[in-house]
């Protein structure tokens, strides 16, 4: 009974939020710069603070902001959950795959030296790919968690 009351209040508040022009327009303006900042943090991690974990969280926050303001259904239309699940696994596969590629080329697991023409370029390629895998997994896990929590009780109401 109490649960239903809370859900009803929540729905009313959500409806108010979805129709608020300030939130809608500022989300549309902010969406691209947040993702751009995420990509900067991802690929600039070699030179400044940042890396896969932080970048993944920042990119995920852009998608979560979109689902918060426009609703879960619109968020799922923008970023379908089956693609989300595939990318969630792909990040770990990329990380492990880099390790296996270096193994197949004749070095140890996750030894990047052999990946490039010189040891340094090999390290660069390895770190870039590994960080990309981390970012992919983290961002998709965060989006999936938010979607799971936010659409948890929806079926009961219908």
């Amino acid at each position: 009974m109490l649960q239903k009351k809370i859900n009803l209040n929540l729905n009313k508040r959500l409806e108010k939020m979805h129709n608020n022009p300030i939130l809608r327009i500022s989300t549309k303006v902010l969406f691209a710069p947040i993702i751009l900042f995420g990509l900067y943090v991802q690929f600039h991690g070699d030179f400044g603070p940042g890396g896969g974990f932080q970048a993944g969280v920042i990119v995920a926050s852009a998608f979560i902001l979109y689902s918060l303001v426009f609703g879960i259904e619109a968020g799922k239309k923008l970023f379908p959950s089956n693609i989300n699940l595939i990318l969630l696994a792909l990040g770990g596969i990329i990380y492990g795959g880099v390790g296996f590629v270096s193994m197949l080329l004749g070095d140890e697991f996750l030894a990047y030296n052999i990946l490039g023409s010189s040891p340094q370029s090999g390290q660069h390629i390895g770190i870039l790919l590994v960080e990309f895998g981390v970012g992919l997994t983290v961002s998709n896990v965060m989006i999936a968690l938010f979607n799971a929590f936010a659409s948890y009780d929806k079926i009961e109401e219908k």
Binding site: D46, G51, Y112, I127, T137, A148, F149, D153
Partner: protein, 192 residues
């Protein structure tokens, strides 16, 4: 030196007051927001220690995304926490004793940034030298995280993946069960 002391004292005071407010509050939304504020102050403290990468992680993960996830989960919780009936004397006493021991031990720690400290003698010099020569990356944190300690980061990624899949499995299973339960009800309604 004095300015550093002032900044640290300021941050510790804010942290302490947030912690006391956290103990006192019984409203769930305040708990979530205060936890987020605590993370943000912790991030500022990491900046004063020159640990920019850690501060960045704390600000984005601790203060950002975990607050959003807590808020998303909060919709299914009652709005207020129940008052505890047990006496708070023994927990308080054990906290004070443990805190006292920790403060007492902290006098034996080497000073922050001291080069002769054991932690800076073990493998850190090799990493600092190797990051430039072997890996060619200016950010030592990234080279340690992704290359020297690649196994650990692989483990961390798998942990994040496993946690996400476990939560999804739990919630999706319940969702599917509810779907099956609610379908016959709808049919009855249509017939009526």
């Amino acid at each position: 030196m004095i300015s550093e002391l002032l900044i640290n004292a300021f941050l510790v005071t804010i942290m302490l007051s947030i912690a006391i407010a956290l103990i006192k509050t019984r409203t769930v939304i305040f708990t979530v927001i205060l936890t987020s504020a605590y993370s943000l102050v912790a991030a500022l403290m990491f900046i004063t220690l020159d640990a920019v990468d850690v501060a960045f992680t704390e600000a984005s993960v601790g203060a950002g995304i975990s607050t959003i996830l807590f808020l998303a989960a909060m919709a299914y919780l009652p709005k207020k926490e129940e008052e505890s009936i047990r006496s708070e004397f023994i927990p308080a006493l054990s906290c004070i004793i443990l805190g006292g021991i920790l403060i007492w031990c902290s006098y034996d720690l080497p000073e922050i940034g001291q080069l002769t400290a054991p932690i800076h003698q073990h493998i850190a010099p090799e990493y600092i030298k190797g990051s430039k020569e072997d890996i060619g990356i200016p950010n030592i944190v990234t080279s340690v995280l992704a290359s020297y300690r690649g196994y650990d980061t692989f483990g961390e990624t798998i942990v994040v993946f496993t946690a996400g899949v476990a939560v999804l499995a739990l919630l999706e299973k319940k969702n599917a069960a509810k779907k099956n339960k609610s379908q016959p009800k709808q049919k009855i309604r249509k017939n009526a």
